[in-house]
């Protein structure tokens, strides 16, 4: 069924169809609508969800951990400062192996205060043990959130699925929705392994680990993150077989024979595809890789996909403030280190604080690659200088 939905509406609809046991959330622009629309579903009785209105995002994540520990399928939503306020609880969620699903909307972190899109919020949370999926459009946000429930519950890791703030969250576009029954059947019933509410099998959660156990438990989470890759692939494939829209770790767009390529996340990939098409018509072998799964980081698959391309630009919508480039760049560069012939690689930081990234900026990146303007490691696209 083709409908017109904003990214936020798409995510809220997915949540309605998933019908989780508990949602605990606190509003923040530009993610507010997701929970606002969903709370309408709760009030109208179209979902059976227990909705917990809390006083902060820290409390939201704490309540999610509690409800997930109790054995409830649990979801929440946030953005930017809200995600930052969840910080310590994000680590606790992953450390306790709670399959919580978070609908995230990417927004720049203060200061200066800003409400628009960049990836600094989720990139900052990249090492907290959550699976991360970055979506190009409303369709993918909807599809990914549905898959996320299964991915989290099979890997026993929490997961965040994000869209670009305003660009996707508030932009209305065409998308296909599944029937309620299809989603219900796909996500299935949640069978928690060790729910606290199973009074016949009492357990302890959150016991202290000193020098003698902490490392072993972290090692388990590391392994879970490794295994999550296979789970993401398997569920993406199952989703594709059932509903015709296939999802992997990343999308390769005219990459096969590309001589110049960019790697990019989120909505900018869609805009870049238009430039790739333009260049291809002119006979220029341009390609694109849109990374979707950033955690776990599919480094081997990325190395395979990008090997043989002599010149690659990695686009980052956040900076690591490490004086050596953005987070996507440093990781992709590391992934390609073992290639026999290493490509020339450059980093472009773009779109911070919602700065528009248009066709001409993307054309200029390909132009730089085509003319070997690659001496500078990191360049800043669209900033006044």
């Amino acid at each position: 069924m083709r409908v017109a939905k904003t990214g936020n509406e798409a995510m809220a609809e997915a949540m309605r169809q998933i019908n989780p046991d508990v949602v605990a959330a606190y509003p923040i622009t530009p993610a507010t609508e997701i929970v606002q629309i969903f709370s309408g579903f709760v009030a109208d009785g179209v979902v059976n969800t227990e909705f917990v209105a809390v006083e902060s995002e820290h409390s939201a994540m704490s309540a999610c951990i509690g409800s997930c520990a109790a054995g409830a399928r649990t979801m929440t939503s946030t953005s930017s400062q809200g995600l930052a306020l969840m910080w310590e609880m994000l680590y606790i969620a992953s450390g306790l192996r709670m399959p919580i699903v978070l609908a995230e909307v990417n927004r720049a972190l203060s200061s200066p205060i800003n409400i628009h899109c960049d990836h600094s919020d989720t990139m900052g949370a990249r090492d907290c043990g959550w699976i991360q999926i970055y979506c190009e459009n409303a369709q993918e946000a909807y599809d990914s959130l549905i898959q996320a429930v299964r991915i989290a519950e099979e890997s026993l890791l929490p997961i965040m699925v994000s869209t670009d703030g305003f660009i996707i969250s508030h932009g209305m576009e065409s998308m296909e929705m599944l029937e309620d029954a299809q989603v219900k059947a796909f996500v299935g019933e949640y069978k928690p392994q060790h729910p606290l509410l199973d009074l016949d099998h009492p357990i302890t959660i959150g016991a202290i680990d000193f020098t003698d156990y902490y490392f072993e438990h972290k090692r388990q989470t590391i392994e879970a993150m490794r295994n999550a890759k296979g789970i993401v692939a398997k569920i993406g494939q199952e989703f594709g077989e059932k509903f015709g829209r296939h999802y992997g770790f990343f999308e390769e767009y005219k990459l096969e024979d590309a001589e110049i390529a960019i790697v990019v996340l989120g909505s900018t990939a869609g805009t870049s595809k238009v430039v790739v098409d333009e260049l291809r018509q002119k006979g220029i072998k341009a390609g694109l890789l849109r990374l979707r799964l950033f955690r776990p980081f599919p480094y081997q698959e990325l190395a395979n996909a990008l090997s043989g391309i002599p010149c690659i630009a990695v686009m980052d919508r956040s900076d690591s403030l490490n004086s050596a480039g953005g987070p996507v760049f440093t990781e992709i560069r590391s992934a390609l280190y073992d290639l026999e012939i290493r490509p020339k690689m450059v980093n472009y930081i773009y779109g911070l604080g919602g700065r528009n990234i248009d066709l001409s900026q993307i054309r200029s990146v390909y132009e730089d690659l085509a003319t070997n303007k690659t001496d500078e490691l990191v360049r800043y696209l669209g900033v006044r200088e």
Binding site: L96, L156, P202, I203, T204, G206, F215, R219
Partner: protein, 98 residues
């Protein structure tokens, strides 16, 4: 004691049974030992209420002794025993190791 490898531990730091604190012997942390005088004791159970380690043993609403496997020797029980009763005395562990 050899401890489990990461592959063999329950995930998430979970402990999959209840009451496991009883397996953790804390009695050897003690430097003072509470000695209970059954004759003086009026079973008011003040000591049972205040013992932070649940080491005062009670049966049928009567105090019956102290669990030395877990008692850490903090002395709270002796302090909380009514002044007119003074049924618990703290004695140096050294006395018992002679």
């Amino acid at each position: 004691m050899s401890k489990e490898a990461w592959q063999d531990l329950p995930i998430g730091g979970l402990i999959l049974e209840g009451g496991t604190a009883t397996k953790y012997i804390t009695g050897d942390w003690r430097s003072l030992r509470p000695i209970w005088d059954e004759e003086k004791c009026i079973s008011c159970l003040n000591c049972w209420i205040y013992c932070p380690d649940s080491s005062v043993l009670v049966e049928d609403e009567k105090m019956i002794g102290i669990d030395y496997d877990h008692c850490k020797g903090c002395g709270i029980c002796a302090k909380e025993c009514p002044p007119k009763v003074q049924a618990i005395k703290m004695v140096s562990e050294a006395e018992f190791r002679k």
